[in-house]
Symmetry: C2
Subunit: 696 residues, 2 copies
Amino acid sequence: MTDIASSDHTRQSTSSTPDRRAAPAMHPAQPRSTVAFNDGGTLPQSSTITSPFWKKYRTLIHDEVLPYQWAVMNDDMDPDMPDDPAGNQQDTHNSHAIRNLRIAAGEQTGHHAGFPFQDTDAYKWLEAAAYTLEYRHDPDLKTIADNLVDLIATAQEPDGYLDTLFQIEMPGHRLKRLQQSHELYSMGHYIEAAVAYHHATGNATALRVATDMADYIDSHFGEAPNKIHGADGHPEIEFALTRLYETTGERRYLDLAHYLLNVRGVDPLFYQRQNEEDGIASDPMQSLPLTYCQAAEPIADQATADGHAVRVVYLCAGMARVAALTGDSTLLDACHRFWNDIVNRRMFITGGIGSTQKGESFTYDYDLPNDTMYGETCAAVGMAFFARAMLSIDLDGSYGDVLEKELFNGALAGMSLDGKHFFYVNPLEADPEASRGNPGRAHVLTRRAEWFGCACCPSNIARLIASVNRYLYTVTSRHGRDVIAAHQFISNDTRFPNGVGIAMTSELPWGGHVRFAIDNPEHASFLFAVRIPGWSARRYSLSVDGRRFDGRPERGFVYVPIEGGNATISLDLDMRVSMMRASSRVRADIGKLAVQRGPIVFCAEQCDNDAPLWLYSIGSESETHYEFRPDLLIGLGTVTVSARKRVLDHDSSPLYRMAEPEDGQTPVDAKLVMVPYFAWANRDEGRMQVWQESRS
Amino acid sequence: MTDIASSDHTRQSTSSTPDRRAAPAMHPAQPRSTVAFNDGGTLPQSSTITSPFWKKYRTLIHDEVLPYQWAVMNDDMDPDMPDDPAGNQQDTHNSHAIRNLRIAAGEQTGHHAGFPFQDTDAYKWLEAAAYTLEYRHDPDLKTIADNLVDLIATAQEPDGYLDTLFQIEMPGHRLKRLQQSHELYSMGHYIEAAVAYHHATGNATALRVATDMADYIDSHFGEAPNKIHGADGHPEIEFALTRLYETTGERRYLDLAHYLLNVRGVDPLFYQRQNEEDGIASDPMQSLPLTYCQAAEPIADQATADGHAVRVVYLCAGMARVAALTGDSTLLDACHRFWNDIVNRRMFITGGIGSTQKGESFTYDYDLPNDTMYGETCAAVGMAFFARAMLSIDLDGSYGDVLEKELFNGALAGMSLDGKHFFYVNPLEADPEASRGNPGRAHVLTRRAEWFGCACCPSNIARLIASVNRYLYTVTSRHGRDVIAAHQFISNDTRFPNGVGIAMTSELPWGGHVRFAIDNPEHASFLFAVRIPGWSARRYSLSVDGRRFDGRPERGFVYVPIEGGNATISLDLDMRVSMMRASSRVRADIGKLAVQRGPIVFCAEQCDNDAPLWLYSIGSESETHYEFRPDLLIGLGTVTVSARKRVLDHDSSPLYRMAEPEDGQTPVDAKLVMVPYFAWANRDEGRMQVWQESRS
């Protein structure tokens, strides 16, 4: 927390709590909290995205994603729409989330529908809408969102509790089956949405519902003997409470988050006892090991990142924020331990995490199967949260590298270029025939679905894209000096609390030139830190006001002292195509190469290449040709690699034969056309492959 | 059916039916049936295995496997024996099969335990015991087996029905839920056992129980309106009935088998209607598609070999025998269609079949994943049945090649060299860490289990090994001439019905010299057909009485006319180590090589090689060194391949990096030590790999 972040440029808000039932459906923006809205140290005063690439996506969020998802949540989609035949993530088209809230609010009758956490469809939509309203003036959207806040407020119980499943179906079972209930998870998502919506619009009801929720949780969880000594089966509330603390300044919320982290796994029998006491004989969740929800042992004792990948990274994001805000070194150690385990041993080159469909989980170190993997969109989004939170603790370029990897690859691939189709699973190798024909690969869809029965991913990618302006800078200090660190090269105009304005123009992801025009009207003295991406560490050039700057990177950042009224910093990054290899400990990638250029990982798709993709082999020295093709979908950079192509054996040929030089199988020269991984499956359905055979 | 096969050398037996309850516990061998015991055209009069390799296995069957399995069936195993922690095939130690039969026989009370087909544990044991008694005089074993027959006879209902689950638990539901009941499957296994036991010992009770069963089935299934117009969910009875027909000469049994094949899949709603009428709301079987049990459409319309692999090959064995005995060309076409689909597109190089654990099933053409595959032992055994049956229809070397592949690889790997541990799943690549750590590979055990809850495999491999003397020759005719075809090179002494004696001495699987000393005292005129294995087709030499024989192979067989009183035929096969490759349509094997020598497929094991196996790469021209190591386990041939070994990256190295020539990753020269696939997992638990990276 630096002086910069808490300067008087921070927006103001009252923390008054008006009559919770009387919040108007629409009202003018309110002044913001007097407490610094720090948002993990990463949110400057205002950041406007000017990147054409990201503006397209953010326009999609406003124009397509939010209306589409709103219709889904209101069950307005065509009920006759055909389901996607492939995969076990059913392509349902109605969320029932609003209906559940209406029933809980007493506005209609009926039963709860959907998953226990169905409420979060609405909350994450609200959060995405909040961010969108910060860059797009839309009174209609605001009216809808205000009305949603009012509905949520009406659905909330007088004591602050809100979970429509339990309210509608099992009011006597509140907080009694935390292993599977997702109650705190759901309320956590509401709190995140409320903080964002309050920040965007000043809506006081939104924030008051959140504080009432947090107060309810605080009154039921804690060290006191009469409280619950366990945590939700799905982490999320911890991170949410840090945001609520940062917005309201209410220390109890931070302490509560801290408690919920510390109690996790301390009593490994907690869930079993709860379930027994609540009369749950068997539940699918109970068949999963406690590692699934990181509750087999205290966090301090958890050596590796195990279990459900989304849970792990949501937990890590919460841990990192609590560690940053409390200085708890045990939590910080856990953050570093899990980070290293994930990033160095359990992450796909796209940033995807989760190596198995079973439990949507991590498996073991270096187990990274490209075709049976999971790589859930939500896990990639959560990894971005984790990376951003770590940047606020420790300015290390590797966090920025991973954040960038998620933004341009693993997370972004979760949404189609039309904003209306989504991947839950993000494989590195796909084959429609395999998804249809081999049950072990049925979870891998080869075209994005319109919706999911478990619809966590579509709204998660929406809220990430809508808030990408919050992922660009970290404001911190170094040796007593203020630091503004630019770690993501997404063009933007930003005004910082210390009065500094930065206009960043970046050619990324297609070009390597980045220019920072720094306007420093108050002649603030600070260090401007520029991340040198890992993929460009070998070759880059940095100049300040036209003169080469020779500062060496320290842990991935070059620090440029800024004193004067203006400065122009130019960074040229290495945009050569790179052939990447995995550690030889990764069995799945042995003898294979991946193609990367800048932050973008490329893949081959069947629609660009006329043979099974596994017939092509490339070498580390293969000639490559990069071309930006404005005609291709939204305009995409493509890479063509000089490859060798094996002969496709005739289907009447023997299945096995002696390998002989003279068997007519000499590969021929060929071209392998590759597109950015995030853009795959936006044309004809077909095979896709990130890792190519290496011919060396 | 040639004259040779039905000559008067065939054993005699009465077909009288003594009082079924009065069969003595032990009695002298009875004379055999007057009908030719043809056994699919493959059983000559008597064949004594002299192969040291197979004698070891057959001694194991007698000395270890049968006593061990008998103890398991009688629930005599140590109840405290620890279960194998890996895998979903539980390592249980008590079968309950005998107890179930005793309860059904009224000799004790209690509930049925185990799977619906638990009876078959006892039946397949009995069948293995029968074959064993043909090569090992053991009055104690015979007493046990006779007593078992008596128990089975007592358990049988007066109307011939026998299925302990239904008798004990649901007598009113007989034949009413054929999709999942396994009633005809179980009775089929009894019939096979009875035919074998009757042949071996003359036990008339055994055969009478079988004919009573078949009569019961015949009275309930058939075209008459009051009969059942559907087939068992698991094929087996069809093949069994052909054996009963061949033993008894009762045409009704063949017609019944034919009917059960013809009715299969004709009414796709048959099972659903049965289940509804019998009040079964849901059953795990019902969630599987009808293709799982080859009942989605009539066999004539089934284009590919789909569903549960064991069901497919059991069905095929039955079809092939019925086609041979009836001349039904529709069934024969289906045999050829399924054979080609399996052998040319869906079979692992070891002979393993079944590409997915889900439904233990085939998937789609060329989908042959080495690490997530199934390759059930029973499916390999069933494939041997199918191959043998096809040889009796059509003397084509490819059937002999596949039969040999199963005998020396896919099937044989199912049992440990101590005869007391078994694989249900036979992967081509295994890693204990993966089996423990990745749920998608948990079905792959990396050490053989002591038993299984579903224990179909141990007794299946036992009955195959115990009867391997029935898999050596096919007696047939060609252009009006008698043919004795030698298609398996397993040393043996055999006397044929036409008086011809053959002493085959073969060095296989370790050496390539095979010698046939033919004794023809009656100067019979016939063609002696010798299979030239596919793996030796490019190089072999054949001599007759010391003179090179120049006859070219016709569809894999060389035909040598025999007229005189004696002949000596020498065959020298190509025992060079071969580097094998798969069709380039097989994604999983692209850029990989397998090592084969003679019929034996080799694999690398962790205990012989000091680095992760995927670090080694070999080339099609790599130097190889074969060595027979008498000290290794039962004495094994090993192959050492000159390989290149990649550097194992340090675990602190980056997970992904640019591939560069100068990154210190140049592979070094190394040796890759390989052992026969069938012998893997008999030493320290560790990684195993059949397909090696190719460096070309």
